[in-house]
């Protein structure tokens, strides 16, 4: 009699192209703010009134809002 065995590597992951795009945007935006890319912003330069690191932080907030709104519109959950 055949028994049922669970497969080891079935996981919940992106399946459709839009899901993959959102996933890549999420991971990519995180990578933009950590080593080594953070070193691009890690300079004592004042740009448009604020240090570069402030723009990194503000950019992170804006990117998250944009990515999540795209995800919601596309029905990516």
């Amino acid at each position: 009699m055949k028994e049922k065995k669970m497969k080891n590597w079935v996981i919940v992951r992106p399946r459709k192209p839009k899901e993959w795009i959102i996933f890549i945007l999420m991971v990519g935006s995180i990578l933009l703010t950590i080593s080594p890319i953070v070193n691009v912003f890690n300079k004592p330069i004042v740009f448009l009134g604020l240090p570069l690191m402030f723009w990194l932080a503000i950019g992170a907030l804006i990117i998250v809002i944009i990515v999540l709104n795209i995800a919601y519109r596309w029905g990516v959950h």
């Binding site: 049922k4 953070v38 330069i45």
Partner: protein
């Protein structure tokens, strides 16, 4: 100095506390708060607006108005790591919270530990996660309690000692959270959120103006660039926050799905509400930017600061140099930030201890559990959080960093709940135990070795143990897994042998 300019800030701060108490007390409406689901999750009645403020204001805490400017003053731009990680935590919340709402509505899992315990079919794992989660959340609450004590201490010119200030605020919180549960938190957070947003911008502008005589922020930073450029880069003025520590602190925070996130999601009306709130929550986090600017401006504009802790620098500057009513509003704003975060932390830790530790062990009925959780709130606040905060264990930001290390160890369990059906209870328990041990060692014995956050070290051990042990032990039953995973996953999960 006239009476009003000396004591006006203190009076405004106290008036705010009274207002919050009245609002919170009346929030319960017609809900019976002796029922566990009403006190814990507001009976699933919270809409998008309240949820946005519940989450946004709940996450913006004493850190924003005290810790962040304090770190800006002592270290520089390193304080911005909190803005970055709080932005990215929203990704995890957007993906996980609607699933949690679905589980809560379908199966009644109101806490993270309960969900984890049910998924892994392990009452022991539920208790373990409950203890780890409650411990980390209580630790986080210390940040708020200490912050509150600082406010009343500074506002009263030292007349109210730190411990008494802390006691006054925790008593106020206990008063309305006991009465109205999560609903009180939601409504007071709306008030507190609006206050925080307005005040952060106003105070930021006032501080820049008093420091340089105009609102040209660029001029303020040019001054800092010329006199102290180390404040504008990592590793910062104290040379202890290099890019690797920035990176690992952000990553461990992104992996931390806090127990109160689960409780909030379980209180949402539906999945779409749980999802939609996160589209707008990051807007709230802009409130942190002006306060971080305040801290950096104080580096050159407030060299005479001599307080006990840099956490007080922004508040003391405002008291010394801003109009009395502005300082009073700032005090109220900081209290708003502290209370809006402490409330859900006390609520969640109490609910978790009752629901996930005491009830499974003592096998309490829902009615007895409902009555116990409100009483236990008073024990958590007055006999655990308050005494710990009086010991003043450290800078607000450092306390936060330690707590994230522990809560991050629940991440593999959450992966097992939402993503990986093959994960087993033995793997989860082994990984969690190993991770917590590593975090404890790398906080107490050898703090953050190689400038890598202790929580990341914990995950580097936790995850492999979790995966390997899971692969060699028995998974949960198909019936249980069907509650947690979608049909398309279940359809491909098994093969016949």
């Amino acid at each position: 100095m006239t009476f009003i300019s000396a004591w006006g800030p203190f009076i405004i701060t106290i008036l705010y506390t009274i207002t919050a108490c009245i609002l919170g007390y009346s929030a319960k409406g017609k809900l019976d708060m002796d029922k566990m689901e009403n006190w814990s999750s507001s009976g699933n009645t919270m809409g998008v607006i309240v949820m946005i403020f519940l989450t946004g204001a709940g996450n913006v805490s004493s850190y924003t108005f005290l810790g962040a400017p304090g770190w800006g003053y002592s270290r520089g731009v390193a304080c911005l790591y909190v803005v970055v990680y709080m932005a990215f935590i929203v990704y995890a919340c957007y993906l996980m919270s609607p699933r949690v709402t679905r589980l809560a509505l379908k199966s009644g899992y109101r806490t993270q530990a309960e969900g984890i315990g049910a998924r892994f079919e392990s009452p022991f794992l539920r208790i373990l996660c409950g203890i780890v989660g409650a411990f980390a959340v209580i630790g986080n609450s210390l940040v708020q309690v200490i912050g509150s004590g600082n406010i009343l201490n500074v506002m009263s010119h030292g007349a109210i000692p730190l411990w008494l200030g802390e006691l006054i605020i925790v008593s106020a919180i206990a008063f309305y959270v006991y009465k109205s549960g999560l609903r009180a938190i939601g409504w007071t957070n709306v008030l507190q959120g609006v206050m925080m947003f307005c005040l952060s911008i106003l105070v930021g502008l006032f501080v820049v103006y008093t420091a340089i005589g105009n609102l040209n922020i660029a001029e303020a930073f040019k001054t800092l660039q010329e006199t102290s450029p180390q404040y504008l880069t990592l590793p910062g003025a104290m040379n202890n926050f290099p890019p690797i520590y920035w990176t690992t602190s952000i990553l461990i925070s992104v992996f931390s799905f806090w127990p109160q996130f689960w409780v909030w999601a379980a209180g949402a009306k539906d999945e779409d509400t749980a999802r939609r709130q996160y589209l707008y929550v990051p807007i709230f986090y802009f409130v942190m930017i002006p306060m971080m600017i305040v801290g950096l401006v104080c580096v050159f504009a407030y060299t005479e600061f001599s307080g006990d802790s840099t956490d007080q620098v922004a508040l003391q500057y405002c008291l010394d140099k801003l109009p009395w009513w502005m300082a009073g509003l700032l005090g109220a704003g900081i209290l708003a930030a502290s209370q809006s975060s402490a409330e859900p932390q006390f609520h969640t830790s109490t609910f978790t201890i009752t629901h996930d530790v005491i009830t499974p062990i003592a096998k309490l009925s829902p009615e007895k559990e409902g009555r116990l959780q409100r009483k236990l709130l008073l024990i958590v606040i007055f006999f655990i959080a308050f005494p710990l905060s009086v010991t003043n264990p450290g800078e607000l930001v450092n306390i936060l960093l330690v707590c994230y290390g522990f809560i991050g160890q629940l991440f593999p369990c959450m992966l097992g709940v939402l993503c990986w059906p093959r994960a087993t209870k033995t793997g989860a328990i082994a990984g969690l135990a190993a991770g917590v041990l590593v975090v404890a060692l790398f906080n107490i014995v050898w703090p953050n070795p190689l400038y890598v956050h202790a929580g990341i070290w914990g995950l580097l051990v936790n995850l492999p143990v979790f995966i390997v042990v899971s692969l060699f032990t028995k998974p949960a039953s198909e019936e249980t897994l069907r509650k947690f995973f979608p049909d398309y996953i279940m359809d491909q999960l098994y093969e016949e042998v």
